[in-house]
């Protein structure tokens, strides 16, 4: 670690400054935007790697604080780095490094004008996320939070000439602001009339249980809107497909996680005194997001929309871990609470890695083959073998299959749920395992969803002509390989990360995992005690790989390796076409059958004598109809009433000013 060069705080701040500088440097029009095209993104990726190093270092050293000579008079910016911030900086730096490197190749064919703007907004976005994680007062936090929303809004609306993308951007902006208002109000509640907005002052505020719950609700819904939990998720499936793929990867992989950071920071740290009733609410919302997200993901044909709904599901899984942790902490079981928090934080990191990877894979398909609808894909493994391999890793990881990383965090969440017998409250004790059942169901559905994605997109026969499809370039490949390697490292060596996350728990909760859990070595993951539960991904992988290889060579040795290539078996019907394969709609059919009432379906079935039969199916999100559209109508109605004030005549407005002045004089004497 570069201890001699910089402390983690100054280092991380320097990286944020580097990102800003790279973004601004891209604007300098050196002829053909050479800097923006060739150097900006690799530099940004390098900065991300260094930031990951500082984040890692921050988890092992004492927290640091700093006051910047910036900001308003008497309201300077405060910065701080501690274990929690360090962990999220590690996430931001390492995941964005892969995505940014990929962006080098992805944006290569943009025109100079657009490219310079993308480079600027992209790096401002990265820098603002870093500042969100470093902020130590509510003022700087909100400034960075809004900068993050604004820069990402511009990135989402990169193709702003399309009306659909403009409206997607608007929806994103709207939800982001509703969330921001809730967060602002939460800080207001915590602040409670003192003149100091630093986190230390907010932490010291002594709240009654009622006001603490109000602050919790505001923080939960404010950050939840950004994280994409139901019912505030509607912007995700609109904004993610609208944005260019590396940006979608950043939004889903990293930005949603800043909301998780905010939740943990405000609820555990600033509000403190976590109550178990809060945990139940978080669990309910988490379970809803998990099931709803995966069921809707299964119905999507647009690959990026599907991935967006899957992000809703994964946020749900994170919330399940967080909720369990809050229930246990609320009842005073710190060790079990630490386990839940570790599961949530680990899934945060894991989701960032594999969802980033999958969005990049979707981007490669979009870029190379111009396809975003699964029903048009097929057989891409033959034209894009490298992309196919990396996406396979992502698919296995997100389906929570051992020995990759998605499994580890689900395993930890299950282990947290299995601590339920500790709870004293009878009803809560039997409710907590039900959330594990929800997670089990969602996990299996995720596997089905991603078998659909991979099977339809990469396997089988091409459903539309794909002469254009080609594998991605070197920069894209390295970017994806980096994230795929992350899936393996996080999956195979979870014990090291467990110890790291335990340090955060000790700081936040005042206690961590039991000593028996910490005694195990790197090979074994045993979060409670080795005789209660353990898992070793390395042994798991070694056994499967060695048996697979031994079986392969034994079969070759004792028998033969003769192969005859032939046409696939046509069942006696030679006129087989690729259209006869399962489509993406067909794959979801059983789920539509089982979970029919959950969807709002419009189907158009062909008639029996239709010469060109076409089956059309549209699935709509029910939340639009019970929440968003009524809310929009209500706002419309209120504003039409308020509009009565607007008469458009100067004398009327002067009259308003007069009355306001009188009112002010009466109240402020």
């Amino acid at each position: 670690m570069p201890e001699t060069i910089a402390t983690p705080l100054t280092g991380a701040l320097a990286i944020a400054a580097v990102w800003l500088a790279v973004g601004l440097a891209g604007l300098i029009p050196a002829g053909n935007a050479f800097f923006a095209r060739r150097l900006a993104f690799p530099l940004g990726a390098l900065a991300g790697l260094v930031l990951a190093g500082f984040g890692l270092q921050a988890m092992y050293v004492q927290p640091e604080q700093m006051t910047l000579p910036l900001g308003l008079p008497d309201l300077p910016f405060h910065l701080r780095i501690d274990g929690l911030a360090g962990f999220f900086l590690l996430l931001l730096g390492s995941v964005s490094a892969g995505i940014t490197l990929y962006a080098t190749g992805y944006f290569r064919e943009e025109t100079a004008g657009r490219l310079t703007l993308i480079v600027l907004q992209y790096h401002v976005f990265l820098a603002s996320m870093a500042i969100v994680l470093l902020a130590d007062d509510a003022y700087l936090f909100m400034v960075a939070w809004e900068t993050m929303a604004l820069s990402s809004y511009f990135l989402v609306t990169t193709d702003h000439r399309l009306p659909a993308i403009r409206s997607a951007g608007f929806l994103y902006f709207l939800v982001a602001h509703l969330g921001a208002i809730a967060i602002l109000l939460c800080f207001g509640v915590l602040h409670g009339g003192h003149a100091d907005y630093t986190f230390d002052a907010l932490l010291a505020a002594d709240l009654t249980p009622f006001w603490a719950t109000v602050a919790f609700l505001l923080a939960f819904f404010g950050f939840g809107a950004k994280a994409g939990m139901i019912p505030l998720h509607a912007w995700l499936p609109e904004a993610h497909p609208a944005a260019p793929s590396p940006v979608s990867a950043l939004l889903s992989g990293v930005m949603l996680k800043t909301a998780i950071y905010g939740m943990v920071r405000v609820i555990y740290d600033l509000i403190g005194g976590v109550r178990w009733e809060w945990g139940i609410l978080v669990l309910l919302v988490g379970a809803g997001s998990t099931l709803f997200g995966v069921l809707y993901a299964l119905m999507q044909n647009d690959l990026k929309r599907l991935l967006a709904y899957s992000s809703v599901e994964n946020i749900g899984i994170i919330l399940l871990g967080l909720g369990m942790s809050m229930v246990f902490v609320g009842f005073g079981h710190t060790a079990a609470g630490a386990l839940g928090l570790i599961a949530a934080l680990y899934h945060t990191l894991n989701h960032a890695v594999f969802k980033g990877l999958l969005f990049l894979g979707a981007g490669s398909i979009l870029h190379a083959a111009g396809l975003r609808n699964l029903n048009d894909m097929g057989g891409l493994i033959r034209r894009m073998p490298n992309t196919a391999f990396y996406v396979l890793v992502g698919v296995l990881a997100i389906s929570a299959l051992p020995p990759l990383n998605g499994f580890v965090s689900e395993w930890l969440t299950f282990q947290a749920a299995l601590q339920a017998p500790l709870l004293e409250h009878g009803v809560v004790r039997s409710i907590v395992p039900l959330f594990a059942a929800t997670l089990a169901l969602a996990g299996a559905l995720t596997a089905m969803c991603f078998v659909k994605v991979y099977g339809i997109a990469f396997l089988g026969q091409a459903r539309t002509p794909q002469e254009r499809a080609h594998d991605c370039g070197a920069a894209e490949r390295i970017g994806m390989a980096w994230l795929a390697a992350g899936c393996f490292v996080l999956g195979l060596f979870p014990a090291a990360f467990l110890l790291m996350l335990n340090r955060i728990c000790v700081t936040l909760l005042g206690g961590g995992l039991p000593d028996a859990a910490l005694a195990s070595n790197w090979l074994w993951l045993a979060p409670t005690a080795p005789e209660q539960a353990s898992y070793s991904a390395v042994i798991f992988l070694v056994v499967i790989v060695s048996v697979t290889l031994v079986a392969f060579f034994l079969v070759r040795r004792f028998y033969h390796g003769r192969v005859r290539l032939a046409a696939p078996w046509d069942c006696g019907y030679p006129a087989q076409t690729p259209r006869m394969q399962d489509s993406s709609d067909a794959f979801g059919q059983p789920i539509r059958h089982v979970f029919g009432p959950l969807y709002r379906m419009h189907r158009k079935l062909p008639g029996p004598d239709d010469p060109r039969p076409r089956f059309e199916l549209e699935i709509e999100d029910r939340h639009w109809y019970w929440l968003y559209l009524p809310a929009a109508r209500l706002v419309g109605w209120i504003s039409s009433k308020i509009a009565l004030l607007q008469q458009g005549r100067i004398s009327i407005y002067l009259l308003y000013s007069f009355f306001t002045l009188i009112a002010v004089l009466v109240f402020v004497r």
């Binding site: 051992p402 299995l418 169901l441 996990g443």
Partner: protein, 313 residues
């Protein structure tokens, strides 16, 4: 005997004995259906025949298609090495607890479904879709069954569960009764048995598991069939470990091994005959009813878990 060696020996035993169980089930079923029974060694002959044949592979099969039979075989071998079939003295058993065991089966299922979709025939996709449909309900039901046992014994380690459950006095735990029924339903569904699937049919409209392996032949098919046999063996022995754990030798108790062997043979003989009886008595349900069958299993398993908290037993 070194206990690492024992673990290896046990997994080899599972792999070698699995086709015998398959043969026994087929034999029993033939008897029950008044047919002349094939030899109990028939599965071995079938495997030997398949290994000798030339593999016929579709022209545009991807490497995934060729690798899958080996991966499936590896997954099932691992399962055979973790489950306390004869003894609980398995040094590598801690590498995967019951949750990871369910994960092994899920890994195998995902690869099987992907390989089925690789060639791009209509049956492959159909089979993959149905296989995943069965899986998405069977897997959580299985997990909840495991959780009931885990709550009773305070551990998700299969070896610890067996040692705890074998030492309690014989009593009917209501939670375990629910879990047992759910587990039986999952076993039938996951191993492509009646009433969910029929292992002996290739009828297009109804087949599930057979549709996924339709494109395979020769050594690849042999490995897949073998993996299927190991899977049945593994599920049976998981069931024994959870619900009738008596007779499984404990760590370090080598003298108990012969007894464990006899107990296992007895349990397998009864279990296999029972499976054949079930398959003779039941009729295959319509495919669209399969989710109902399995959601019943899932709810039973969840109920079992709740009952554990209600009555503490």
């Amino acid at each position: 005997m070194d206990h690492h060696g024992f673990a290896l020996l046990q997994s080899v035993f599972v792999v070698l004995a699995a086709p015998l169980l398959m043969g026994w089930v087929n034999q029993c079923r033939a008897w029950l259906q008044n047919r002349a029974a094939p030899s109990i060694r028939l599965p071995y002959y079938t495997l030997a025949k398949l290994f000798h044949k030339d593999a016929v592979i579709a022209r545009d099969a991807s490497p995934l298609f060729r690798a899958t039979p080996y991966i499936l075989f590896g997954c099932m071998w691992l399962a055979g090495g973790i489950i306390p079939v004869l003894a609980t003295d398995l040094p590598f058993a801690p590498a995967a607890d019951v949750i990871a065991l369910v994960g092994v089966f899920a890994l195998a299922r995902v690869f099987a479904a992907l390989a089925a979709m690789d060639i791009g025939t209509s049956f492959g996709g159909l089979g993959a879709r149905r296989e995943m449909l069965i899986g998405f309900l069977a897997e959580p039901a299985m997990l909840m069954t495991m959780f009931t046992a885990a709550f009773i014994s305070g551990s998700t380690q299969l070896t610890t569960i067996v040692e705890t459950l074998a030492h309690r006095e014989f009593a009917i735990h209501p939670s375990l009764a629910f879990a047992g029924l759910a587990f039986l339903m999952v076993l039938l569904a996951e191993n492509a048995r009646i009433p969910i699937d029929n292992p002996t049919t290739h009828l297009e409209l109804t087949m599930i598991h057979e549709a996924t392996i339709l494109e395979y032949s020769a050594r690849h098919l042999a490995l897949l069939e073998w993996a299927t046999a190991i899977k049945l063996f593994a599920y049976m022995t998981i069931g024994f470990a959870l619900f009738v754990p008596w007779g499984i030798a404990e760590a370090g108790d080598w003298a108990a091994l012969p007894l464990a062997f006899v107990a296992l043979a007895f349990k397998l003989a009864v279990g296999g005959a029972g499976l054949a009886l079930l398959e003779t008595l039941l009729a295959k349900v319509r495919l669209l009813m399969a989710p109902e069958f399995l959601s019943a299993a899932f709810l039973l398993a969840v109920l079992g878990m709740l009952i554990h908290f209600l009555v503490r037993g």
